[in-house]
Subunit: 268 residues, 2 copies
DNA sequence: CGAGCTTTTGAACGCAGTCAACAATTGTGG
DNA sequence: CCACAATTGTTGACTGCGTTCAAAAGCTCG
C-alpha cells in the first residue's frame, strides 16, 4: 500500500519556488491559438473575429508558478501564449504524476469550462505568457457559434487522446522507450505549432519533471537520457532538444503519431 | 527499448475469442443514459424528447467482441445499454493497455463524434447490449441544443478526468494500491449508475484484463487480489465484487472520489 | 468428458527504485 | 563580481517490487 509516511523526496519534490508574477498586458497575441484551432477546422472570418473579441486578460507566470490549483474553481480558462505548462496530480503520499504538457496555443484548463473545478493542478514549466478568459463569455460564444464549440470540444478530446497514449506509455513500455516516446511527441507537437524547424525544439524541462511525467525515478531517467545520448539518438542539454536519428528513435520508442491527429502526418 | 520480437504472452493475450453477434432491437432502453446526463445538468422535457428521437440502432455483442477498431471510422457513436465495455491500446510489441472501462449509460466512442477515427480500440468486457447513433444526427442535435452539447462534452471531459487519475494510479502507486483504487472506483461508478446497492456490484472481469488495466502482470494481480481478500478488504470471485471494509480499502488505496464528480459525494 | 481458458503457486531473475555522495549549474545577495 | 546557497545532474552500490517462466489445478462450455 501507499505509505503516507515521511515526506517523499527526489522526484516528488514539487514545492513552489518562485513567486507568481502577474502583469496585465493590453494586447494579446492569439495567433498560435487561432492557428491551432484552424489547423483542422477552417474558421470563418466571423468566427475568428468573435474569438478576438473575447475579453482575454494577459499575465506572466514565472517557471514553477501555479496557474490553477487542483479542486479550485477559477471561473476562467487559461491560454498558454508562450512557454510550456503542465498539469499534475498528487498522491496522498505526495508523489507527483505529471498528466499533461501544454504548448503555446493550448488551453490546459479548458476542461473547467464544463467541469468547474480542475481535477489536476496546472503550473508553468517555463516562464510563461498566458491569457485568461472568464467562463461566461466563452460559454456564450460556444452557444452562439456551434462550430467554435466543436473546435474547442475537439481540443479537449485531443488532450484526452494524448492522455490515453501516455497511459499506454507508462503502463506498458520500458523506461528507455518511455523517454524516447515523449521526446518524439514533443518535437512533433512543437513542429505542428510552428515553433520549431526540422528535427529539434526547445524543451527546457528538468529531469525531475521528466521523471514525474513518465512514472520513473529521476535517477533512472538520468541513465535513460544518457543512453539515448550515447546511442546518438538525441542531443539534449536540458533546454534544447535535437533528435539526431528520427527513424531509429521513433521505432525504438514504438512511436506512432496517429494519436496526435497532426494535419501533416509526415514524420521528420 | 521495446523488443518487437516474439509474441507477448500472458496478460497481452487479447485475441478475439467469440464472434460478434448483431441483433437489431426495436425499442431501446435509454433510461441509464438519460439518468446519467441529467445527474448534473437538469434537462428539459424537450431535450429529453430530442434524445429519444435520435435514430438509435440496437445490437448485442458477446463478451470479447469488438465494438470499434483503433484507427477506424465507424461514423457512429455507441451507447452501452447493458454490460461493461473497455477501450484499449496496443504497443507495437502487442502489449495491451486498457485505457478505460465503460458502464451502462456511457458512450465509450463519443470522442469519435469530433475526432472521426477512434484512437483506441473498444471491446465488450461482458455480453453487452449496445445502441449506435450515426454522427450526423448527433451533431445536428448538438447544434440545435447547446445544452445537450455541453452535457455530452462534459461526458468526454469526465472520461478524460478518469484517464488522468488512472495515469496517477499506474505511474505512482504500488500494485496493491492500484488494484484497490480501481475496485473503489468501479463500485462508486456502478452505485452512481444505480446498478448496485450498498457496498458491492457486478464486476465480471478476468485477472488478465485487470492486469492490463493496471499496467501489471496477471501473476502479480493474482497475488494482490489474494492479499486484498486475505486482509478482509474485499470479496471477489471474478464476478461479484463486494467491498467489506470501505474505510480501510479506500485509505490504503489512496482513493479520493473527487475526480469522478459524483452528484452524491458521500462514500459508502 | 475433454479442450481451452483462467487462476494459482513457486522459484529465479531483472528492471527500476532507493540511498548516498559528489559535481555541475543556477540563482542571489552583498 | 564574487561567494554562498540551492537546485539539478551524475555516479555507484544495494535493494526490492514486480516480471518471467513453468507447471498444476479449477472452471466453463461445447
Amino acid at each position: 500500500m501507499v505509505t503516507a509516511g515521511p515526506a517523499v523526496q527526489c522526484s516528488s519534490d514539487h514545492r513552489k519556488r518562485r513567486a507568481r508574477t502577474l502583469t496585465s498586458v493590453s494586447s494579446i497575441d492569439l495567433t498560435s491559438f487561432l492557428n491551432r484551432l484552424t489547423r483542422l477546422h477552417a474558421l470563418s472570418g466571423d468566427e475568428k473575429a468573435a474569438i478576438g473579441r473575447l475579453p482575454f486578460q494577459g499575465a506572466r507566470i514565472a517557471a514553477g508558478g501555479q496557474i490553477a490549483r487542483e479542486g479550485h474553481r477559477t471561473g476562467h480558462c487559461t491560454l498558454i501564449v508562450e512557454g510550456y505548462a503542465y498539469s499534475y496530480k498528487l498522491t496522498g503520499g505526495g508523489q507527483r504524476q505529471i498528466v499533461g504538457l501544454f504548448l503555446a496555443g493550448e488551453l490546459p484548463d479548458l476542461p473547467t469550462l464544463h467541469l468547474g473545478a480542475s481535477d489536476a493542478g496546472i503550473a508553468a514549466l517555463t516562464d510563461c505568457r498566458i491569457a485568461t478568459v472568464a467562463h461566461e463569455p466563452l460559454r456564450r460564444l460556444c452557444e452562439a457559434q456551434p462550430r467554435l464549440a466543436s473546435a474547442l470540444w475537439r481540443e479537449t478530446l485531443l488532450q484526452a487522446s494524448i492522455a490515453r497514449e501516455w497511459m499506454l506509455n507508462i503502463g506498458q513500455r520500458d523506461a528507455l522507450a518511455r523517454a524516447g516516446h515523449l521526446f518524439c511527441e514533443i518535437v512533433l507537437r512543437q513542429r505542428e505549432a510552428g515553433l520549431s524547424a526540422g528535427e529539434g525544439c526547445d524543451f527546457p524541462i528538468t529531469q525531475i519533471a521528466l521523471a514525474d511525467a513518465l512514472g520513473l525515478s529521476s535517477v533512472h531517467i538520468n541513465r535513460m537520457v544518457q543512453e539515448l545520448r550515447n546511442s546518438g539518438l538525441i542531443e539534449w542539454d536540458g533546454r534544447r532538444l535535437t533528435i539526431l536519428d528520427w527513424r531509429r528513435l521513433s521505432t525504438g520508442a514504438d512511436f506512432d503519431p496517429a494519436y496526435l491527429r497532426l494535419a501533416d502526418a509526415a514524420a521528420l
